[in-house]
């Protein structure tokens, strides 16, 4: 039985927002939404709910690849820099060691590799998450402010091919939402 749904924001309909009060409820609801075949939807929580990727049917994150690539690049750059400086740009004989003193170059190579990897992790994460994104229709919703506190949400975009206003609202309600909101905005 659908209760009165509120509306947030103004403008064309962006989507619906269902609110849940526990991670378990969110998990089960997410499975339903996934099984219903939606693609342009998301779940929101104050902390990562373990296993939710499975419930949503998400593919593995590609962050590790970015980390590996930038990490190796960093290490190569570190070693390359030292090699070039010590053998080409400014070769110095220091305590009889060869120009390309590779054992002495390992520490900096390693550190540069770690720096590259860390940069890869943060850039990969931000890039794949499309952050920063300071404006989003969901921020118009007052209820949504609790997403960083103690409430859990599912948002389904109107742009999804399977979206049907009343049908989608009903889906969320049947899935256990304590409240459903229409979100408007671009």
């Amino acid at each position: 039985m659908s209760a009165a749904t509120t509306t947030a924001g103004s403008g064309p309909l962006w989507g619906v927002l269902g609110e849940f009060d526990s991670p378990a409820a969110l998990y089960r609801a997410a499975e339903r939404v996934r099984d219903a075949g939606f693609e342009r939807w998301d779940t929101h929580s104050p902390f990562p709910v373990h296993g939710l990727e499975r419930a949503m049917g998400l593919k593995r994150s590609r962050v590790p690849i970015v980390v590996l690539a930038l990490g190796l690049a960093g290490a190569a750059a570190g070693m390359g820099l030292q090699w070039w400086v010590s053998t080409r740009a400014y070769p110095l004989v220091v305590s009889g060691k060869p120009f390309f003193s590779w054992p002495a170059f390992v520490p900096i190579m390693f550190e540069c590799g770690v720096l590259g990897g860390a940069a890869g992790a943060v850039l990969g994460f931000l890039g794949l998450s499309r952050l920063p994104q300071h404006h989003h229709p969901l921020f118009e919703s007052k209820r949504f402010e609790r997403v960083t506190d103690d409430r859990f949400f599912i948002s389904i975009e109107a742009a999804d091919p399977r979206f049907d206003k009343s049908g989608t609202i009903q889906l969320l309600e049947r899935a256990g939402a304590v409240a459903v909101e229409l979100v408007e905005g671009a």
Binding site: A24, P46, P48, G51, V85, V122, T148, D149
Partner: protein, 475 residues
């Protein structure tokens, strides 16, 4: 008979729950965010005042150093560098516990870390800042510090990469950078919390800018978690490597007492040891000042005390091994260096070091003492005194009797040496005091994630469930 529900509550240790009082998610948000929202207590202003005055002393000491030159530290013979290098290694070392708590404890799934990792990571950043102070000022001519950078310059010269001091430049600055990245990534969800709770639009904007528009989307959490795991995986070898590189400053030399292969793991263990002690010092006070005793509770101190005992034992093992091999080596100079430490003019420093680093942590074999806050607080201070002396002993006892008799002298700190050390504490405490005032000192999202209610799947519950309902199982 044990109920058929699986708990992570350890059936042996009956350890107390991670978070006391069974708060819900909102309770956690409130407990951590509210202190930043009300006016700080008087105690905070007092601590800030003291820290700022120490920081001012630093300003004076550094200004005088730049004006007069490095001679104000008495630097005419190698041993006079004592305090500069000791302080540098001391501060870098303290930073390592923060990374241990954030990264290593995360990899080994120790959920209790969530109550202290934010503050510990902040401590790391501030400790690294204090550490970097010393290489920056020690040339006496900081406007020439760019000579350490591998950048094209007007002299067509490049740094000498075979020097451990160059390795330090990279290691410590990369450590600072990666720690900053790790800390900031962890902060993003909490900044979003502060943004959504903000009482004024300006506050909301300020927190909001740095929150990057975070909206708790699992499509983002998904990448976040992977990135966090990988950052932890990168930070772990980083923490091993940074203090190893610092140890290389000494170990690559030929000086008896400095040149020894055990330095890298020994220094790393000692760093974590001193850093944990500093975390205890800071947390003992902060948790009371900000009324978070239920979040940072005796469980956390017990765990940290055990880690202190473990790392302190490794340090003790290293002392013993070095001493034995100094004899075993048959190298008379090496053996002299060790006999000199124990019985020469610096014996007072050596025995201070041994009593603080080897004897004091032994109290933590006793559980009652692991959870007695006053004992922990006092012990942590002694441990840090001991670790400062360890670096002092290593540096001074080898330098004051190095290969050239012209360099032999008894080291005495100048007033500027002392002021700079006190001033560096001023920098550290000022930064930390400001941190706890403006940023959430506990990782809100992470703590919520380890509460029992956080699990979507029934069989996984966390140690926060009070085990009293298991009493029946002990029949």
């Amino acid at each position: 008979m044990a109920e058929a529900v699986l708990h992570d509550v350890d059936p042996i240790d009956r350890r107390p729950p991670l978070i006391l009082g069974e708060p819900d998610f909102h309770g956690i948000t409130e407990a951590v965010a509210r202190p930043i929202e009300w006016k700080p207590p008087l105690g905070w202003w007092i601590v800030l005042g003291i820290s700022l005055s120490m920081l001012a002393l630093l300003g004076v000491a550094v200004a005088w150093l730049f004006w007069e030159g490095i001679g104000v530290w008495g630097n005419q013979i190698p041993v006079a560098w004592a305090w500069d290098i000791t302080n540098f290694v001391f501060w870098v070392g303290i930073g390592h516990a923060g990374t241990l708590i954030s990264a290593v404890l995360f990899l080994v799934r120790q959920r209790w870390r969530t109550s202290i990792n934010r503050a510990a990571e902040a401590m790391t950043l501030f400790a690294v800042a204090c550490a970097l102070l010393f290489p920056t000022i020690h040339t006496g001519r900081p406007w020439l510090d760019y000579w350490m950078m591998p950048v094209p310059n007007q002299m067509a010269m490049w740094p000498q990469f075979r020097s451990p001091l160059m390795w330090d430049v990279f290691a410590v600055s990369i450590y600072g950078t990666v720690s900053l990245i790790f800390w900031y990534v962890g902060l993003i969800p909490d900044l979003a919390t502060m943004r959504d709770r903000a009482k004024t639009p300006k506050q909301a904007q300020l927190y909001g800018i740095f929150a990057l528009g975070w909206r708790g989307s699992h499509r983002q959490w998904h990448h976040y978690e992977r990135a966090y795991l990988l950052l932890a995986g990168l930070a772990t070898p980083l923490v091993l490597s940074v203090h190893s590189v610092v140890s290389f400053d000494f170990a690559t030399s030929q000086l008896p007492g400095w040149h020894t292969t055990i330095f890298p793991p020994y220094f790393v263990a000692g760093a974590i040891f001193s850093g944990l002690a500093m975390v205890i010092t800071l947390m003992s006070i902060s948790r009371v000042a900000f009324k978070m005793e239920h979040i940072i509770n005796l469980l956390h101190f017990d765990r940290m005390a055990r880690l202190i005992l473990a790392t302190g034992s490794i340090v003790g093992y290293a002392y013993a091994t070095e001493f034995f091999v100094a004899w075993y080596s048959g190298n008379l100079y090496e053996f002299f260096a060790f006999r000199n430490r124990a019985m020469g003019p610096y014996a007072w420093a050596y025995w201070t070091m041994v009593s603080c680093n080897v004897v004091v942590p032994q109290i933590f074999w006793f559980r009652k003492l692991r959870v007695h806050i006053p004992t922990l607080f006092i012990a942590s201070i002694f441990i840090n005194i001991g670790m400062w002396f360890e670096r002092f002993v290593i540096i001074v006892t080898s330098l004051h009797r190095d290969f050239m008799p012209a360099n032999w002298d008894y080291f005495r700190p100048t007033i500027w040496d002392i002021s700079t050390l006190i001033g560096s504490f001023g920098l550290f405490f000022t930064l930390f005091t400001l941190f706890v005032r403006f940023l959430p000192m506990v990782a809100i999202a992470e703590v919520k994630g380890v509460l029992p209610q956080a699990h979507a799947i029934p069989h996984e519950t966390s140690p926060s469930v009070p085990y009293r309902q298991e009493e029946g199982a002990r029949a």
